[in-house]
């Protein structure tokens, strides 16, 4: 017992200062049981399956968005071509062919006709 507890106990004791009407406890149980209705079965509220799964679905959605965003970001950075010698040569070839076609005034249809012969 602490000092503070001792002060309270010495001054005021632990005696119960409350009283009840005479015979209250003698009749309480009997009176209560006489008025007790039939038991109303309290059914615990079932959470719907969607409610139970909601946090999991939200987490899965966040994960999907994250994976999609990362994939998209990585693909974009891979799309920017590095100028390898072969790619540079191809670019030069295409430019040259376009200029040549302009010079001889050939359009695409003429070129395809030429190639098919």
């Amino acid at each position: 017992m602490t000092n503070e507890e001792k002060i309270i106990a010495e001054k005021l004791g632990k005696e119960n200062p409350f009283r009840v009407p005479e015979g209250y406890f003698d009749h309480f149980a009997e009176q209560f049981m006489n008025e007790l209705p039939e038991r109303q079965v309290v059914v615990p509220a079932h959470r719907s399956r969607l409610k139970v799964l909601r946090p999991i679905l939200m987490a899965a959605a966040c994960l999907c968005i994250a994976i999609f965003s990362i994939t998209l970001y990585l693909n974009r950075s891979q799309d920017v071509p590095e100028q390898t010698p072969v790619a540079a040569a191809n670019t030069v070839d295409e430019t040259y062919m376009d200029e040549a076609a302009d010079y001889v005034m050939l359009d695409n249809a003429d070129i395809y006709a030429c190639l098919s012969e």
């Binding site: 038991r39 109303q40 079965v41």
Partner: protein
Amino acid sequence: MTPPLSEKELLLMLNNPQTQRQAFGIIVQQYSERLYWQVRRLILNHDDADDVMQNALLKAWNNIGSFRSDSKLSTWLYRIVINESLDFIRRQKNITALSTDNELSGIANTLMADKYFDGDEAQAKLQAAIALLPEVQRTVFNLRYYEDMKYSEISKILNTSEGALKASYHIAVKKISEYFKQHD
């Protein structure tokens, strides 16, 4: 006079629909007095305490199917009764909001005028000082000081850690003793 039934015997009777009502009657008979005093110390007034007891026991009856025998029957009943008392106190607080000083003398005067209160002025003030504590401190103080209940048991009733309960009790004791030191 028949000896009180053990908790195991009562649970067997409760699980049988044929004897369920009879078992609950025995429970009310065996536990109502202990439960009432706990309610009364929180509520202070007999008529209100009686109402709270009726409501709490009705709730216990309707929810008896949800009682799990992993806790003691008395712990479960104490929990229902204390929750019902604290709900009542919260509702009352919304109705009457007074300043602390007025509240303390108001509660003490009301108790002194109550025909079901036998204490002197100092005891009325002690009850008023307890009534003004926050609800956890108030409940722990009553269970520990008046009923000598173990912290492990209080912890199960209030669903709070023993450490937190010890701290609450210590603060409550300090507040009450300081109040009496100041007013000596």
